[in-house]
Symmetry: none
Subunit: 232 residues, 2 copies
DNA sequence: TTGATAGTTCGGCAGGGGCCGAAGGATCAT
DNA sequence: ATGATCCTTCGGCCCCTGCCGAACTATCAA
């Protein structure tokens, strides 16, 4: 019973024009301040504050305080995905203006803010596909990956701190993270973070300054071919 | 401007408990009568009638009159997809009770009513994965597939009417259809239908009588291995 | 024709929720 | 400290909308 109510509650949160306007802006994957969101929604700061609090409580948004600003962002790629599919039903073919501007400016941005510590986008997909193809990981249920013995060896060989990831407390070891744009699962969780760390440490990828974009270096491209047997 | 309102309107339609209950029931892919929907939503027939009319006007539902009954069903697989992704955000792991009953009764049913003319479920995923792996198709944007030259040849060879699919008027050629249960894209659109047609024509798959289920035959299982290099 | 069933439309009630003004913390700049 | 900025909480207004009772149409079964 609460199960059906949960559906309507999430939908109702998205079903208000002001909140929908905020969510649309946040679809660019970035974090925005409360006043910025109020402005684009065309409402006062007080009203916006109430809306934002409700969406945080409903696990649609995540908030982060910084100085006297509060930055809000979408809570997960699942939320982005849900909004996208609603837009699809609503007959919107392109993302709304503000988001599509950011999109063009930064075409490699694939909702990396919430996929912060692991590789997402096309690189993440390529790595995940290659590991799957080689039998190094296997889907386990609909939410996790299983690292096979061969995969364990492989990861150790290229320098991924698998044991460290295993010891990462309560954190999930290897999760399936559904990428917003690619719509296919890639590796997140502690192992995903460890793999990304290896990419950065070995100079295969680098974070762009002041951006959530990850760029694959030339040596990374070569490594993807020689180590993973994948091309991008 | 209407573009953002469209998002909130669709979400608002799904954001009422009574309407959400009806939509959940309709997630079984079947058509239900107005009174049936009123009953499960726990409201009177008058109230339900209003809700249903609004959802039809909003292109969420399609109605079909038959005698003195009116049958309502989800208007498209896009709607089903949107509901599913909202359920995902709401943290529902299993489909709601009523739908899960149909689910258990018919475990191969993967919302085939709206994916009517193309292969969905595990078979659709297996085919799509195999074609991707072989480089026969590539994701194009977030909504379409691109059929490569090699893929064109391959399809012709196994008897898929690719040219016919290309001539299919205004219909999309090869769409990414996100499967409800598998949560991964498979091929829909004209090409998806043509591939499914090949499977039926060559006896690789068969529709079960009076059911939306598609069964893979033994020869289909062999073909999947020999032609597609996939196992299931 | 008469009655029963399925569905819709209309009207009025009542509650929920979105909105803003006012006021109150928090943080930064000077 | 003083003011400015950012954000939040509180209180009250008001509209929107979901709800049902009643009445009406359409189909089916005698």
């Amino acid at each position: 019973m609460t199960t059906i109510n949960a559906l309507s509650e999430v939908a109702a949160l998205m079903g208000d024009p002001a909140r929908a306007a905020m969510l649309s802006l946040l679809m660019d994957g970035r974090a925005h301040t409360a006043s910025e969101l109020a402005l684009t929604a065309g409402i006062t700061a007080q009203t916006a504050s109430g809306h934002l609090a409700r969406m945080v409580a409903g696990n649609l948004l995540a908030a982060r305080a910084q100085g006297r600003n509060r930055f809000y962002r979408l809570a997960s790629s699942e939320v982005a995905h849900a909004i996208e599919s609603l837009m699809n039903v609503a007959g919107m073919r392109a993302p709304p203006a503000s988001a599509s501007a950011a999109w063009r400016r930064d075409p490699d941005l694939r909702f990396c803010r919430t996929c912060y510590d692991h590789l997402a986008g096309q690189v993440g997909i390529a790595v995940t596909d290659a590991l799957t193809r080689a039998g190094h990981i296997e889907p386990e249920g609909t939410r996790d990956w299983k690292l096979t013995d061969g995969g364990d060896l492989f990861c150790q060989r290229i320098g991924v701190d698998v044991d460290g990831a295993r010891r990462a407390g309560s954190r999930h070891f290897a999760r399936q993270c559904l990428d917003w744009s690619e719509r296919r699962p890639h590796i997140s969780g502690a192992l995903g973070a460890a793999i990304a760390d290896t990419f950065f440490r070995r100079g295969w990828a680098e974070r762009l300054r002041r951006s959530r974009t990850v760029r694959l270096t030339d040596s990374g491209r070569r490594a993807l071919g020689s180590q993973f047997g994948a091309t991008l």
